[in-house]
């Protein structure tokens, strides 16, 4: 089940990497920001899924909207001469980190609870 998205990730990477030309270097920062936003959406989705409140529409719209908004924010920051780029990187970085930590905690709790349930139902 997880294999399909993973394959898509690799295929997407390879297809673009091999067949498409590089974008102008001045775009690189915005692409990086967009990637960070996408990663944030992905990790957020993972967390929501574990918390059983994953919503597909929110995930997909959030993924694309956040990507574009983050890149736009960085772009306007550049136009205004303010390093909003850094603000976006910091904000997204913290969020990704928090979500990853929360995901790990959820995993561990689920494990512990499953184990407890097993020992409780086991015959004495």
């Amino acid at each position: 089940m997880i294999a399909l998205p993973l394959c898509a990730l690799i295929i997407g990477f390879l297809a673009v990497y091999m067949f498409l030309p590089a974008v102008p270097p001045r775009w690189a920062d915005y692409v990086a920001i967009a990637i960070l936003a996408g990663l944030d959406a992905l990790v957020g989705a993972l967390r929501n899924w574990l918390e059983r409140r994953f919503d597909e529409a929110i995930f997909v719209s959030g993924f694309f909207a956040n990507m574009i908004l983050a890149a736009l924010l960085a772009y306007f920051g550049d136009k205004l001469g303010v390093d909003l780029y850094l603000a976006v990187v910091v904000a997204l970085g913290i969020r990704i980190f928090n979500n990853l930590g929360r995901t790990r905690a959820l995993f561990v709790t689920a494990r512990v609870e499953a184990k407890r349930a097993r020992t409780a139902t086991a015959p004495q």
């Binding site: 089940m1 399909l4 998205p5 993973l6 898509a8 990730l9 690799i10 295929i11 997407g12 990477f13 390879l14 297809a15 673009v16 990497y17 498409l20 030309p21 590089a22 974008v23 102008p24 270097p25 775009w27 690189a28 692409v31 990086a32 967009a34 990637i35 996408g38 990663l39 959406a41 992905l42 989705a45 994953f54 597909e56 995930f59 997909v60 993924f63 694309f64 990507m67």
Partner: protein
């Protein structure tokens, strides 16, 4: 169950699309970064390396030219010296002046001093790392000590010390004769071996101070030490010899 499955499949499809997009963007980014690295840094270093090699080649050529001209000069002098009288005397005088100016490579007995940074690191009982590296003033002090002990010719890492030689430090780089040198430092000094040794080894002298801080100091008396000539002899643009009528 069917709806759940459908929902799940749907979820899988959207996740796949998202991952495809993300992978594509990663591809763009990696590609761009690689291209950027190649173009900007690559071009810059390429150009710099080209300029450096060019400059070095030019320098080599000029050095060869200097050697050739000096050889020619030596030949003329040799011819002149074989004559007698005033010319011979003048040649002798010229030779001495050349040695004093550091224009000739000279050879003789003396001492070789090798000096490297301390093996101690910052965080030991004395202050910061600055204490444990060799500074320009250490070299100045050693050179002074050597001159005072009667050294006739001194070089540091191949840089001849002459009357106008400066040992300076800018941005943590030590420059001698405006040429950057870096540790370990080697002094070649020609002069009376005993005098030079005892001058450097004097109690509480410069070497003692460095030895206490565990600098790597190696002082050896040697015969046949060669001190190279100065690469760029000084020019005299402002200073003119005083004429008799100038004196009051």
């Amino acid at each position: 169950m069917a709806t759940l499955l459908a929902q799940r499949k749907h979820w899988l499809i959207s996740m796949t699309v998202v991952c495809l997009v993300l992978g594509g963007m990663l591809g763009v980014q990696v590609h761009t970064q690689q291209a950027r690295g190649l173009t900007e840094v690559g071009r810059q270093t390429g150009a710099l390396v080209a300029r450096l090699t060019e400059a070095e080649a030019q320098l080599d050529k000029q050095r060869e030219e200097i050697d050739r001209l000096r050889g020619l000069l030596a030949e003329y002098e040799h011819e002149a010296a074989s004559e007698k009288g005033l010319v011979r005397l003048m040649t002798e005088e010229l030779r001495n002046a050349r040695i004093a100016l550091g224009l000739l490579p000279v050879k003789g007995s003396g001492v070789v001093l090798e000096l490297a940074d301390s093996t101690m690191m910052a965080g030991n009982e004395f202050g910061g790392q600055d204490v444990y590296v060799i500074h320009d003033f250490d070299l100045v002090q050693i050179a002074n000590e050597l001159w005072a002990a009667g050294a006739e010719a001194i070089s540091i890492n191949g840089q001849r010390l002459i009357g106008g030689s400066a040992i300076t430090c800018s941005a943590r780089l030590i420059k001698v004769n405006d040429v950057t040198i870096s540790g370990p430092f080697t002094f070649n000094a020609i002069g009376d071996k005993k005098n030079l040794m005892s001058a450097l080894n004097i109690r509480d002298g410069v070497l003692d101070r460095l030895r206490v801080l565990q600098f790597q100091v190696k002082l050896t008396p040697q015969d046949g030490i060669i001190v190279p000539p100065i690469a760029v002899p000084p020019k005299y643009e402002h200073a003119q010899p005083v004429q008799k009528e100038d004196k009051q």
